[in-house]
Symmetry: D3
Subunit: 330 residues, 6 copies
Amino acid sequence: MKKIVTLGEVMLRLSPPGNQRFFQAQDLEMEFGGSEANVAAALAYWGMDVCHLTAFPDHELGWAAAGKLRKNGIDTRAISFIPGRMGIYFLEQGAMQRSSQIIYDRADSAFADFDGEGLDWDAILDGVSCFHWSGITPALSQKCANLTLVALQKANERGIRVSGDLNYRSNLWQYGKAPHQVMPQLMELTHVMIAGGRDFRQCLNEEFKSFSDTKKMAFDRFPKLEYLVKTDRISHNSSVNTLSASLYGRKKSHTSKSYELTHIVDRVGSGDAFAGGLIYGLLHLSPKEAIEFAMAAGVLKHSVPGDILYCSLQEIQELVAGEGNGKIKR
Amino acid sequence: MKKIVTLGEVMLRLSPPGNQRFFQAQDLEMEFGGSEANVAAALAYWGMDVCHLTAFPDHELGWAAAGKLRKNGIDTRAISFIPGRMGIYFLEQGAMQRSSQIIYDRADSAFADFDGEGLDWDAILDGVSCFHWSGITPALSQKCANLTLVALQKANERGIRVSGDLNYRSNLWQYGKAPHQVMPQLMELTHVMIAGGRDFRQCLNEEFKSFSDTKKMAFDRFPKLEYLVKTDRISHNSSVNTLSASLYGRKKSHTSKSYELTHIVDRVGSGDAFAGGLIYGLLHLSPKEAIEFAMAAGVLKHSVPGDILYCSLQEIQELVAGEGNGKIKR
Amino acid sequence: MKKIVTLGEVMLRLSPPGNQRFFQAQDLEMEFGGSEANVAAALAYWGMDVCHLTAFPDHELGWAAAGKLRKNGIDTRAISFIPGRMGIYFLEQGAMQRSSQIIYDRADSAFADFDGEGLDWDAILDGVSCFHWSGITPALSQKCANLTLVALQKANERGIRVSGDLNYRSNLWQYGKAPHQVMPQLMELTHVMIAGGRDFRQCLNEEFKSFSDTKKMAFDRFPKLEYLVKTDRISHNSSVNTLSASLYGRKKSHTSKSYELTHIVDRVGSGDAFAGGLIYGLLHLSPKEAIEFAMAAGVLKHSVPGDILYCSLQEIQELVAGEGNGKIKR
Amino acid sequence: MKKIVTLGEVMLRLSPPGNQRFFQAQDLEMEFGGSEANVAAALAYWGMDVCHLTAFPDHELGWAAAGKLRKNGIDTRAISFIPGRMGIYFLEQGAMQRSSQIIYDRADSAFADFDGEGLDWDAILDGVSCFHWSGITPALSQKCANLTLVALQKANERGIRVSGDLNYRSNLWQYGKAPHQVMPQLMELTHVMIAGGRDFRQCLNEEFKSFSDTKKMAFDRFPKLEYLVKTDRISHNSSVNTLSASLYGRKKSHTSKSYELTHIVDRVGSGDAFAGGLIYGLLHLSPKEAIEFAMAAGVLKHSVPGDILYCSLQEIQELVAGEGNGKIKR
Amino acid sequence: MKKIVTLGEVMLRLSPPGNQRFFQAQDLEMEFGGSEANVAAALAYWGMDVCHLTAFPDHELGWAAAGKLRKNGIDTRAISFIPGRMGIYFLEQGAMQRSSQIIYDRADSAFADFDGEGLDWDAILDGVSCFHWSGITPALSQKCANLTLVALQKANERGIRVSGDLNYRSNLWQYGKAPHQVMPQLMELTHVMIAGGRDFRQCLNEEFKSFSDTKKMAFDRFPKLEYLVKTDRISHNSSVNTLSASLYGRKKSHTSKSYELTHIVDRVGSGDAFAGGLIYGLLHLSPKEAIEFAMAAGVLKHSVPGDILYCSLQEIQELVAGEGNGKIKR
Amino acid sequence: MKKIVTLGEVMLRLSPPGNQRFFQAQDLEMEFGGSEANVAAALAYWGMDVCHLTAFPDHELGWAAAGKLRKNGIDTRAISFIPGRMGIYFLEQGAMQRSSQIIYDRADSAFADFDGEGLDWDAILDGVSCFHWSGITPALSQKCANLTLVALQKANERGIRVSGDLNYRSNLWQYGKAPHQVMPQLMELTHVMIAGGRDFRQCLNEEFKSFSDTKKMAFDRFPKLEYLVKTDRISHNSSVNTLSASLYGRKKSHTSKSYELTHIVDRVGSGDAFAGGLIYGLLHLSPKEAIEFAMAAGVLKHSVPGDILYCSLQEIQELVAGEGNGKIKR
């Protein structure tokens, strides 16, 4: 059983039920989610041994968040309970021509103030095959940026493969640093990078003529980079999308099947399901199979409410194989 | 901030949750809605100063109805609380090839017995830019027909633009008058008319060869008429529709973009959202922009549960501009 | 009013709400369903006089099951309350590319142990036009297989038309008999057979080159057979299917319209709704009209949550006639 | 199995969930209830053969009401489906020092316009042991008063025992008759009367010095009267009541145990559960046992949400015997 | 109609349904509440003209909060929409021997950063009979303390009676000031003070031997003080309390009836309901009647879920008069 | 951190919401519970390191059960996933004079067929302070009885204190053995026994004159027995109980405070919460403190819905100390 470590904030996710708008809501559905923990949960559901690093406020909401991670099969023993508040995001599901909407309320969270004090890196990284981070963490605070760098250095020292989802978010980066002052040294320590053209432009503060140029630059500039992975989504409206993904190696590239998604249930976390699928795939399958597995994982996430993909390996493999097709399994 | 006045009945709306049929329901979702108040709510959400005229029974259900209008930003200070019952409509949402279904239980409502006694028209109409009515009100009772006529006369005397949604409903008109005995004099006092061919045939009790003829007749017969507006809906099934709209002026006409609607959430009130959009558009935009704004408002209503469009000006403008397209707004 | 008798197990159906997976659920929606009782319920909703034969455990869950059948208009006076447990099926609704999933927990149910003791066949079959069974019952236990045979013999003795839905389920047949040891003699006593190629292969333990060959064999081998009926479903995914059906007589065949189903609400029970429609159609309409009626009934079931079709004769006839098309009925 | 017939209106009951007030509600729980049908349901739950006479509007809400009665085991084959609306009552559950509140919206219901046309009295009353009515029916309309009188005459002609719950309601009697113009001739045809001092005062328009005097008068004036039954409730607040009942025969009287009720769940329908218990008791037990059985039925109703007592004979008998006492039954 | 102005923060209130703990919740009930706005809502429900002063973040949650205040009948036109987050409080309802629990997440709210800029005091205070504040506001931030002082000075300048609920909360006062540095000058400007012994000790940083001494000190030290009001609660457990209140004037004192509260639904906001009742009572009734009215209002709040008392004047007066007592009102 | 191991079946618990009866339910609340796992969950909530031994069916329901245990902080790595069904219990909450009711559907569960194959006892029992079992497990099947005996022997061999809750259930013991053929040798290996008079009578098939005699016999007959613990419950009705407990040592005895419980939320699992409290208490406190701690834990369970006590050490200690008393904790 492969061991994987992930690092990142987990927020309380609050959403009006069904297609209600915030203005109409009298109840909010309560979940917990965060990009990297979503990756961890998908991997744990497939039987991996996954440890998530984060910090929670030491009160009932933090305990509930940890409980939810545990339910998802994630090892929570390295989680820190410290003073501070719980980061929150309010999510309103879109439908048809109406967009989904997120109101972030994550400033001053316990995690943003977490410097990794007390983490026993030797124990945590012992026997680990992959360490996963995302561009959200270094965008939260200087402490979080530092913690990410430390983690990536520790992982590289131990020869652990690092995967990173650049995931540039313009409304973060409020603590006085610009992405290009922080991200490049993290990218240098990353072996599998999930990123599109815009992520590179923002993280490096440079313009590129085409994605082809971007790709070339990336492999030149980041010698440890093994795979560059990009998803292509055409968002027709909130209920209908087209989705495919490509994996670029130094020598060979592979593009997945393209999927028509209608009747979308919950798009949030589909990139994380994809990242989880990619990590699983690169650990167990050929690169070509890995990108198909990852894309199928990402596709299936759209059918599951909440941040997290709860789909078995078998379900994903059947979608890759074009089987099932909506028949009732008895 | 423009001031607008609307007049009409507000009913208790009761619907089984999800896709349940009445026969299956153990709970009913409780909303309040009525064509003209739905228009008022959309306008209030966009920051207009809107006063709605109606009557409610003077008990908890009437108070709750008024509370809901207030929540929607509507000025309820001119509402009358009088004896009588609350009009009700039971709505079962259709899906796929199964139609939505409405059971009206609105006879003998407080509003049907309301003659407008106690309304201070001078105060109510002071500074008002637009007065809106619909063909539902004069169809309810002789008192309601009289009240509509008085309101339109008062508005016209003060030079207020009157918009009217003819909205012919064959199952109303139970009080002994036929539409053509009542509607023509109301139409004479109306500057913006939302109506299709069938509305004209029924309200005037005349046949017309084509909508082109109807349009010509309307501008000839109603000298105050500035704009005739018509929506064109192709209803493929309860979940899939095609929608566009046209605005006809005395000189120029404009037809909106056509929208493919799939995954319809709640179609009820989409005509009212359109009417609200039209009123807003004609007060703030060019006629060409107005019909696009109105159509986008009508389209977005299909994604919001309940009778009322809760979408911001910005959301509507983005749809008009073809932006957004279902991306998550963060 | 035609009298119809049906025989079969009714299970407790438990499903997570909305699009939740079992792993996420904190509540389960509670229904009761079973293939033949679903047929009975559809027929009762259309005003038929339908009596269902089954057995329930004699405790509150069995009483609740009987109460639900009664609510559906089914005559429950011949139901037996005996020791044993309630059969259960756990249903997770699929969506998009994710399949629906059923976990059966029906072993050792009261019905599986029911030998029909105490049934007064003379009273039950008096004046009956049609007796309906399915291939699920003989697959449950030797007692159930025997009971089915007795019922079919009693019906044939009285000249009652027998309809049977072969409905082969590979995960049943656990009691030591193979289908071909049991089914043929039941099929010999059946006048209207709903079955596809796979059903014939499994029930007869023979291979056929084509459905055309299968059909020929069936009419040759089963001299009482009047109609062979088959549905054709293309399952694009859990939300989108294409559906049509054919009725084969000894002389003439009829194929229904083909329906595009998008936005599927609940596919479970659509075959039963179809079977109910077929029984109704063959009792009241021409064969050509019957297959259209049956198909429209099957289509509409996809829009109604739960096992049972709650749609009026008028709604089905409107779909056959191509009317309605999703307009709101007021 | 004893056969019982009941007559009366069944209304749609709509209540905010939990302890919400109407002003707060966003959903309403949907039940169906009416005094006499509540009696019928309790009796049917105990295995009696009960037929309820009423009229419903011939649309989905009326069908759903009939379905609910059937679920409760009531024979609905004599119910008439006629034009008109469904009577409604809106119920807000009180708690602590806050009273429960009912808003009636029952005017012009289908039942109020029902004259019993088409009822086959010979078939309906064949083999019947008891006919039950309440003072609500004659208070609704002249037609309903006439229908009640006809029913009581038919029952008396056939020697059927008649039980009546006077149940005076001051907010009914709107059709131009006063109770004393209508009730006395119905009381003359009644053998078991449930009534308190206030009921007698209002129905006879006379004052009595004491209940003892009232009782004496009743047995003198109504020669057919066998039992006069009265419940005594001390309502400390919405959650806490004290309850007992007395049965007066011409010779002997019996008073039940007194119960302290705390933690009241739903008081509505407790009088009907009591009446059902009384009818059951007088058919199967001694008068002394009957009043204890009736009181225990009435007590247990306070613990069941909705209008109807769903408690088995065994549960009631255990309460009478002082067993159980809140232990978990496994 | 009396005009009243209130000032204070309104928070999003999120609570697990029923008796669930945070650790168990999958949904949170969504309300909005804040001490002073709760007072405002109670007064508005009784027909007062109430204007609430506060600040909300200018996004959908802030708009929803304002909508909820409007629904409650509060004039929201003076509310400021500014940058910042929405204050939140997470409330878990206790039961039996388990205490209710609140997790505050209100730091850095929009209101805490509000300095009253843009408030048109002349317009706001025109014709006002009473201005109400609480000790929570000056505890939030220096800006809030300043704003409270300005408001109280403006009110005193105009001869408006000021009521203040000292409501000392030890977990606030985080901005560097101690209560006794801020509260005394606010108390000097207050005519009606709701406070217990602990409030005085903390706000003045002094010890008193008895409440009698405290009272004497208060009337001596605060010459504008007209009434000192104190509630006495014995909290037996989360479901059972005993409650009474006393009003002390310079000459006369009055103590209310004592109420036994069992079956408590929601205790939060009962002090605010009491304060609202006191303000209403002192404006319309004698001091003796006022304290009874206030106490009854406070008592009834315990039966209503949410922060706010939705009870009519009539309901409160009936409780004062000892009528009703849990009978169903029809 | 103390390490504890527990052994026993975990069932799916399904209950109608609120006070509904099974006959009324349209949804069932879904929990997982089982006596020994409930003990484990309480201990894990207090920070103990608890490992639960059980077997689940290897499908989604079994995975969900394991997920729920993990959420509760229980180490699930020793759980076996094997063929079989999930045991179920249907629970209807009583109220007032109406008893709670449980329908068991646990026959032929995966656990009943579990012989402990594959358990690595050395690893499981390494460093363990306490092993807990209950009399339910040996009552399920011969395999389960054997497994319990093996476990107790392994624990005794390693000097681990064994606690056992005799918990005699008459409706189990269906596999051909009587309790007295199985229980005595398990009791011999138990150091802390929770049992009342009836448990001893049934498990030993002997009569005792008094509990005092029983106690004497127990200490004589079971030389390893350190503590005998008994709870005393007076069940006034489903909502009101009186509760206390006694701990008997060989030398000294201690009786806890007696608690009046009103407003009971969910009594199920209160014995398990008590057992958890006892184990915690005997590991950390004096015997006198332990029985108070255990009783307070049992009392608080009545206020929490579901099988499991989610209350912190601090909450329990406050109840022991008589603090808190229903005040809101902020």
